[in-house]
């Protein structure tokens, strides 16, 4: 379906894509703080908490992510965490991006010597 393919590609920004992947990798521990740490580590750049909240929110709204409240932990001053999980749409979108990207990169050697 033409439409769906376009949706997946157009509606996901690079940041969102990174966050979706981070959520997937972190599994049960996918809440704001580790997500930020993960992305910072992988990209080697500083990410503020705010720059993670906004895309997370947006992804929930788009239906790629779902969230639930976990139990409270002492290192958070006794506050609950909001844990994010990928929805089926989220997984599909990731699949799609991966397929498109691997097709695009296929046969292209290292660009920089």
């Amino acid at each position: 379906m033409k439409n769906e393919k376009e949706d997946g590609l157009r509606l996901l920004t690079r940041t969102e894509e990174l966050i979706l992947l981070a959520v997937w990798r972190l599994k049960e521990n996918a809440y704001c703080v580790p997500i930020r740490a993960e992305i910072s580590e992988i990209t080697g750049e500083k990410w503020s908490l705010g720059s993670v909240y906004m895309p997370l929110d947006r992804l929930v709204k788009k239906g790629f992510l779902d969230s639930y409240l976990s139990e409270a932990t002492p290192e958070r001053g006794g506050r609950q965490k909001r844990i994010y999980t990928l929805t089926r749409e989220g997984l599909k979108a990731l699949e799609k991006i991966r397929a498109v990207q691997s097709r695009m990169w296929n046969g292209i050697p290292e660009l920089v010597e």
Binding site: Y31, C32, V33, R36, L49, E75, R76, G77, R79, K81
Partner: protein
């Protein structure tokens, strides 16, 4: 995170602020995230960096937070406003009643505020206003103390010379002094004030031309207002020009005053030096005597000096100069005089307070209308509120919404009120004889006060509806039956009762002052004041009054003529220390003096009680030389003889035989009891009582204009240099109680408005009730109830409240009226029928208001009523 590290807590205040900023429960989760991240930074880079990071996050959040707030409150206000406007539009009767009630209430408030502001501004314009004082006296007569502003002429110079705290003093010789001015062919009789030269220095009356410190140093100098300068000289700069006074003196104009501000108790057109009077009267000791209390003395105190201290020091000064005087002198702040008088309880302040209270009452009545109608209609709004609550509105949101609605109404009301004030101001000025202006943009009080009043009345009016509406439970509210709950209807009843109690109270108070004024107008003064005309004696007449009298008697239409020293509006001079046989030592009445000729009793139609009055045949000389006196009944009572004719009374070495007693007549405004009086024949200089000053003529009621014209031609022929002046005595009486009449008129107006606003509310409430009971009435009619039965059913409730309001209003109104009547020595008794009539009036108005609605409900076709199910 797994290995146990020290846990860092972010700064408490920062956390608290963050907690406050984050919008709702859902958003509290980031607080945890923040804390974790904070810990991470603290571990890696140190606690101080973590701390500054945390604070930085907060600072970054604030603009967003503010924008968010504004955006959402704007959205909510838009919704509230939309709903409010829809409510206003849909329930037109309700809105018109509320807004117009509030508008009338606020217009009353604004008008009264303008009036009060003007009253309070009196005499404040003098630069030295804070340390200007009037010298007044408490004088003891036996057991009574009389307070007056009269001081001896020697007091002013003594104060200035002997007390270092008193910087300056100025005397004014109590008038009225009328002088005849002539300049070219312009001749007028003018009232002048005779003052010390220091008068212009201690008071700040703006002098357009001339030097205030020297303007009145020459005895033949005159300072006049610009208006008078134009009248006599046609220019506002007549400095150095001369004006002829009393055909004898040439006065030099040494100063021109700007118009005297209307809010000054001292009003005059001409100032002449006080020295002139002593020369004019050929009375050199006039200004140095301690015995004659006919001067008003003003004192300017040093900055910072306490007037109470100075008062204590000066208290005995008059007694020092005059052994016969038993009393104290004291200082009275000048700026208090207008509103508080001499501190004896009389003064305009009572009216100021009363009107301010009425302003608050009327606004309160309007606010009550709003409360009543809003709560009565709570049922209509219940679904809306239920829905709002269900979708997450907090109680505070609902309170906000209802407050918003009432404030919106109040502001609409304010807008109308301002229009009303602009339209009604001329009428109001006429009513109060003031010239207040409504200039919003030049008055910071108004600019801030008007929105303030609207906000306040909005908050007062919205208070109960907001609380009631927000307290309702959504589950109960969405059901159809919820409407006027028993609690709110109970509250409404109290408010209606309160409202009507206020209105009835105002009606009663109006009735009492109307009756009192009517009583004063028609009170038998002891003489017949109708058709009495008087001409002041001046110029040639001062020597030829006897001839003038004979000439006037020849005129057809003049039935009787008498010469007197005073008009009977106020007898100012008098004395004490009279003695008679068998006088008890603690009796020492202050006796007023009055001089007249033998035709006084016949002209004024005063009866004799004992003995006889002076007569031309008996009296060959004046009563002092003859040693004979006529007294009034009151003095006879004090002397204590049934028939005191023949009794000898004496003052110091002078002895007099009483030859007659006249019936008491009133010679004071009716605030005071007219006390003992001695009537002298012809003249009595030693008492300070002047020679004849007035010619009184009793006219026959037919063809008065012609008689006046004849009098004029006689007087001008004899006295061609002077303008002809005449007045009717009853006109003077009409002017006497002007303050009370104004007060009464203002009262009446506002009482009517209060009743009107109350009725508006009652009308709205009745129409709502009738609407609510549509079905009940329908069923009753179907079951055979008559129209009268239903009208009575619906009306009965309201009338019960009005009756209750009467019970509350009566004692209060009685108390207030009683206190007011204490101002008058001659007063009416407060009859029960004033209360009955006022109550009945309120009752009838309420019946008319309610029955319109109840009859409409009663005659409606029951089919219509029952069909809408």
């Amino acid at each position: 995170m797994q290995n146990k590290k020290i846990h860092h807590k972010p700064p408490k205040t920062a956390e608290w602020i963050l907690n406050f900023i984050l919008p709702d429960r859902e958003w509290k989760i980031p607080l945890g995230d923040f804390e974790e991240f904070y810990n991470e930074i603290a571990d890696k880079k140190g606690i101080s960096l973590a701390r500054s990071w945390y604070w930085w996050q907060i600072v970054r959040l604030i603009p967003t937070k503010i924008l968010n707030e504004i955006y959402w409150s704007y959205e909510m206000i838009k919704s509230y406003l939309k709903v409010a406007l829809r409510v206003i539009r849909r329930h037109k009767v309700f809105s018109v009643i509320n807004i117009s009630g509030l508008a009338i209430g606020m217009a009353c408030c604004i008008l009264i505020f303008l009036w009060v502001q003007d009253e309070l501004s009196f005499d404040q314009f003098h630069q030295n206003a804070d340390h200007l004082y009037l010298v007044a006296t408490h004088e003891r007569y036996g057991t009574t103390i009389s307070t007056s502003s009269g001081t001896p002429s020697a007091m002013g110079p003594a104060l200035k010379a002997e007390y270092p705290e008193i910087v300056d003093a100025a005397r004014v010789c109590n008038g009225p002094h009328a002088l005849n001015f002539a300049c070219g062919d312009k001749r007028f009789r003018e009232e002048v004030e005779a003052v010390d030269p220091s008068f212009l220095r201690i008071f700040t009356f703006p002098l357009l031309q001339g030097d205030p410190s020297t303007a009145l140093s020459d005895p033949y100098s005159v300072v006049m207002t610009k208006r008078m300068a134009l009248k006599y000289f046609g220019t506002d700069d007549p400095i150095g020009q001369t004006i002829r006074v009393e055909e004898k003196y040439d006065f030099k104009v040494t100063g021109v005053l700007d118009e005297i501000p209307h809010n000054s108790i001292l009003q005059f057109d001409f100032l002449v030096p006080i020295e002139f009077l002593s020369e004019h009267w050929q009375f050199p000791e006039l200004l140095t005597r301690w015995s004659d209390f006919s001067f008003t003395t003003y004192a300017l105190l040093q900055r910072g000096a306490s007037y109470e201290d100075v008062s204590r020091k000066t208290a005995g000064r008059i007694k020092q100069g005059n052994q016969n005087f038993d009393g104290d002198a004291f200082l009275r702040p000048f700026t208090l005089l207008y509103l508080h008088g001499l501190g004896t309880g009389r003064g305009r302040i009572a009216l100021v307070r009363m009107l301010s209270m009425i302003a608050v009452f009327i606004l309160l009545i309007a606010c009550i209308n709003f409360m009543n109608l809003s709560t009565a209609r709570a049922g209509n709004r219940a679904k809306e509120i239920g829905l709002r609550k269900v979708t997450g509105a907090s109680r505070f949101d609902i309170i906000k919404q209802f407050y918003g609605e009432s404030v919106l109404m109040a502001f609409l009301g304010l807008f109308l009120a301002v229009l009303l004030v602009i339209i009604l101001l001329p009428v109001f000025n006429m009513l109060t004889a003031k010239t207040v202006a409504f200039d919003i943009f030049n008055s910071p009080e108004l600019l801030l006060g008007l929105p303030g009043v609207a906000l306040l009345s909005g908050l007062v009016a919205g208070f109960y509806p907001a609380l009631l509406m927000s307290s309702l439970q959504p589950a109960r509210m969405t059901r159809e039956t919820v409407g006027a709950g028993s609690r709110s209807s109970w509250f409404r009843k109290i408010l209606v009762v309160f409202q009507f109690a206020l209105s009835i109270g105002l009606i009663i108070r109006t009735g009492v002052s109307y009756r009192q004024l009517d009583y004063m107008h028609h009170l038998d003064l002891g003489f017949n004041r109708d058709h009495l005309v008087y001409v002041p004696i001046s110029g040639v007449l001062e020597r030829q009054y006897e001839a003038a009298k004979q000439e006037l008697l020849k005129i057809q239409g003049v039935s009787s003529v008498s010469l007197t020293s005073r008009t009977p509006i106020g007898f100012y001079s008098g004395g004490s220390n009279w003695d008679w046989e068998g006088k008890s030592p603690d009796v020492n009445p202050h006796v007023r003096y009055f001089c007249c000729d033998h035709d006084f009793t016949s002209t004024f139609e005063i009866e004799m009680v004992h003995g006889q009055f002076y007569s031309r045949e008996l009296m060959t000389t004046d009563s002092i030389k003859a040693g004979q006196l006529v007294i009034n009944q009151e003095l006879a009572r004090i002397i204590g003889r049934d028939d005191p004719v023949g009794t000898i009374i004496s003052q110091e070495s002078a002895h007099f035989q009483i030859i007659g007693v006249i019936k008491d007549f009133n010679y004071w405004p009716l605030y005071w009891r007219s006390g003992p009086l001695i009537v002298f024949y012809k003249t009595y200089h030693e008492t300070g009582e002047p020679r004849y000053r007035y010619i009184f003529a009793r006219l026959q009621p037919e063809n008065i204009p012609k008689t006046i014209a004849n009098i004029k031609s006689v007087i001008t022929e004899m006295n061609p240099e002077f303008p002809f002046i005449y007045r009717f005595l009853d006109e003077d009486y009409d002017q006497l109680y002007r303050l009370e009449e104004r007060g009464s008129a203002i009262f009446q107006t506002f009482a009517i408005l209060a009743v009107f606003i109350s009725c508006l509310g009652l009308f709205g409430l009745a129409s709502f009730m009738a609407e609510q009971r549509t079905k009940e009435i329908g069923i009753r009619k179907v079951l055979g109830s008559s129209v009268q039965g239903i009208v009575i059913l619906v009306t009965k409730d309201f009338l019960k409240w009005v009756l209750m309001a009467n019970l509350i209003a009566w004692p209060l109104a009685w108390y207030v009226s009683h206190k007011w009547l204490q101002n008058f020595a001659y007063r009416i008794n407060i009859h029960i029928w004033i209360f009955l009539i006022s109550g009945a009036l309120a009752f009838v108005i309420a019946v008319l208001t309610v029955s319109f609605q109840s009859i409409r409900a009663a005659v409606a076709n029951p089919v219509e009523a029952l069909r809408y199910e």
